[in-house]
């Protein structure tokens, strides 16, 4: 169990360090696409994905680096995708907002808010029609909860008792609009429950708690207990889109940013592992080094990939 716990930390660290590197290098103008970082939200991706098994399938949205990496998606192919290289996970066609690594269980992410939610339900439908044991997961944000398609999807998933987890990362913001300007005071989980789903809320910055909650819901779904909803309260530490911070915008008081930084999922996991003596300072040093090497390797992979020639217009639309 503690090796496992340390693996969660390592996974979060990889996401954090890789994204920090993306942010640092974004101004070099080599990554020419919109980019939504998940720094501060790593525990959601890692906690949920740690509850999955091979054969389970995951969808994300515009902010999906973490989901891709938490499942074991290839870091080099992620960076190469942002670099616009043909060795990118989507062949360079998608950039940051269109990721895929089917072998890792990450089906795909796309930037239309709500777009992938019913797709996960469709994967679960196929699984249930074929009598398989896979669970489908869709990650989405609190803003996405406002799209009607999410409610249609929950209704259908509940009707058919499909093995699908709706994992809602509630960071309290959609771009620069706070939740209170978009939704009334009420709990997201109550809506899901009313739709007929099992629902839980968890602290999305506590990776171990996320894992525990996700395990319960995923195992339940796998056992035929039907769909579930998991709200993860979390914190977006960067600006909505791009490498910087939105602190200078002044939309939130400095104290809120300070609180968010104190609530960093990595710092919390580190403190907990140390406190439980599940890891010692040497572990953290070693894992930093290891992750730094992995990040470097990912960028090296991307940079070593040749710049592709222009694609002939109209290629790749349909099978021959």
């Amino acid at each position: 169990m503690t090796a496992d716990d340390r693996a969660l930390y390592r996974s979060m660290l990889l996401i954090r360090r890789l994204e920090e590197a993306l942010a640092r290098r974004y101004p070099e103008q080599e990554m020419r696409c919109p980019m939504h970082l998940c720094i501060g939200q790593e525990a959601c991706a890692v906690g949920v994905c740690s509850a999955l098994r091979p054969g389970d399938r995951v969808f994300g949205a515009h902010r999906a680096h973490g989901h891709y990496l938490a499942l074991g998606g290839h870091p080099g192919r992620l960076v190469a995708e942002l670099y616009g290289r043909a060795s990118g996970c989507s062949g360079g066609r998608g950039g940051s907002m269109h990721l895929t690594d089917p072998a890792a269980g990450f089906v795909a992410s796309t930037p239309i808010v709500g777009g992938t939610v019913p797709l996960a339900v469709g994967v679960a439908l196929a699984e249930s029609m074929r009598g398989g044991h896979g669970v489908a997961v869709c990650f989405f944000g609190d803003g996405c909860f406002e799209e009607g398609v999410v409610h249609e999807s929950m209704n259908f998933a509940a009707l058919r008792r499909l093995p699908v987890l709706f994992a809602c990362e509630n960071n309290g913001w959609a771009v620069n609009t706070p939740l209170r300007e978009r939704q009334p005071e009420r709990r997201l989980a109550d809506v899901a429950r009313a739709h007929g789903l099992a629902a839980r809320e968890a602290d999305g910055n506590d990776v171990f708690g996320v894992r525990e909650a996700a395990r319960e819901l995923v195992d339940r779904a796998r056992a035929g207990g039907g769909p579930a909803f998991l709200e993860l309260r979390t914190t977006r530490l960067t600006e909505h889109c791009g490498p910087g911070s939105d602190e200078p915008l002044g939309l939130r008081p400095t104290s809120e940013f300070e609180a968010m930084r104190r609530n960093c999922p990595l710092a919390r996991a580190r403190a907990e592992l140390l406190g439980r003596r599940a890891a010692d300072p040497e572990f953290f040093e070693a894992v930093e080094e290891e992750v730094a090497a992995a990040v470097e390797e990912a960028f090296a992979f991307a940079e070593a990939s040749p710049v592709p020639p222009p694609e002939p217009p109209g290629t790749g639309l349909r099978a021959a």
Binding site: S90, H98, T110, I112, P118, S153, F156, L317
Partner: protein, 355 residues
């Protein structure tokens, strides 16, 4: 050969596809109900079970996404909409996801989704239940949009759509459902692309989609005894026009009339005219003509909407102009021959509503 109505041909295609491939399933509002989507899903539930012949919540958006997800997982969904108008609720999924998915992820996925979209007409369908929206779909790259006009094509093209690894929308005009013809007894897929010359003629090319093929043929038959020989080209597929066949015909007849079930303006008929002009301007002895719907809506009142849809008579009038038929008495005779006797808001005289 066996006689089949268009509706029966569709039902046969579905049954055949489900028989051949356990991955095929049918889903849509009312698919298993006694109406059986105007008979086109009749008997399927009894034969293939409730799992493969599914009703669905009235959630066109999400359910299209669900079908796409199921397709990504290896199934072959056939989604049915009793009116094409409802598709507007599903366009995000259809155009942003289904049409783009293979491309967006570097060809790693295939979305073998078939959507059947039925076009309503007459008996007071009115503005929201009569739309023929193929132009919206054909414009967005990645979808194949086909419009079978005969029972043979209905069966063969629906089968081909289901077998196709990529998304296909089959546009079915409600007024075709009663059409019957003998077709080969053994169901086989027919190509989704490629126009067919349904009738040869030297005086003008009538290039038509869907139900307008029926009307074009009727006009051609009725004008033939007067010495006007019209070539009728069934275009069959909108998204991938068969230019060689079409241009070949236009080069022979030197005159083009394009007929579509939708609004003329910004419709697929505009693309046909533009493509022909770009490739064969010199062959045209007269300006091309488009026949479709005017820029407006059919009133529910049959009295108000009496002039809304083209009829064999109005088509004939346009064609006579196109071929330069100046003889007054011949014109009168031609129009008389094309005049319809049934009410304009029903597909045939015995229809008694509602639908």
């Amino acid at each position: 050969m066996s006689r089949r109505s268009y509706a029966n041909a569709l039902a046969e295609a579905l049954a055949t596809a489900m028989e051949r491939d356990p991955a095929v399933f049918v889903v849509g509002e009312g698919v298993p109900d006694p109406g059986a989507i105007f008979g086109t899903t009749r008997g399927l539930r009894e034969r293939f079970g409730a799992d493969r012949v599914q009703d669905m919540p009235i959630s066109e958006g999400a359910m299209t996404g669900v079908a796409i997800g199921a397709a990504l997982a290896g199934l072959r969904p056939v989604m049915v909409h009793q009116r094409m108008d409802f598709l507007l609720l599903a366009l995000d999924q259809l155009l942003n996801n289904a049409a783009k998915w293979r491309y967006m992820f570097g060809g790693r996925f295939s979305v073998p989704l078939t959507v059947r979209a039925i076009v309503g007409r007459g008996w007071g369908q009115g503005p929201q239940h009569s739309q023929s929206l193929q132009a919206l779909l054909a414009h967005v790259p990645g979808l194949e949009v086909v419009l079978p006009a005969t029972p043979a094509d209905a069966r063969g093209m629906l089968l081909a759509a289901i077998e196709d690894p990529d998304p296909v929308v089959v546009v079915e005009h409600r007024w075709l459902y009663g059409l019957e013809e003998p077709i080969p007894t053994a169901p086989e897929a027919l190509p989704l692309r490629g126009a067919r010359i349904r009738r040869a003629g030297r005086d003008a090319t009538l290039a038509a989609f869907s139900y307008m093929v029926v009307e074009a043929l009727e006009v051609a038959e009725r004008l033939s005894p007067l010495g006007i020989e019209l070539e009728v080209v069934d275009l069959r597929c909108a998204s991938s026009l068969d230019l060689p066949t079409l241009l070949g015909s236009v080069r022979r007849t030197r005159r083009l009339c394009v007929l579509d079930t939708a609004w003329t303006a910004f419709g697929v008929s505009a693309e046909v005219v533009a493509a022909v002009t770009e490739h064969a301007l010199g062959a045209l002895a007269a300006p091309p003509v488009r026949i479709g719907l005017p820029r407006g809506y059919p009133a529910t009142s049959p009295h108000l909407s009496a002039g809304f849809y083209p009829t064999p008579e109005t088509i004939a009038a346009a064609v006579l102009d196109l071929v330069g038929a100046a003889d007054r008495s011949m014109r009168r005779e031609a129009l008389r021959r094309c005049r319809r006797r049934t009410p304009g808001d029903v597909p045939h005289a015995s229809f008694s509503g509602p639908f």
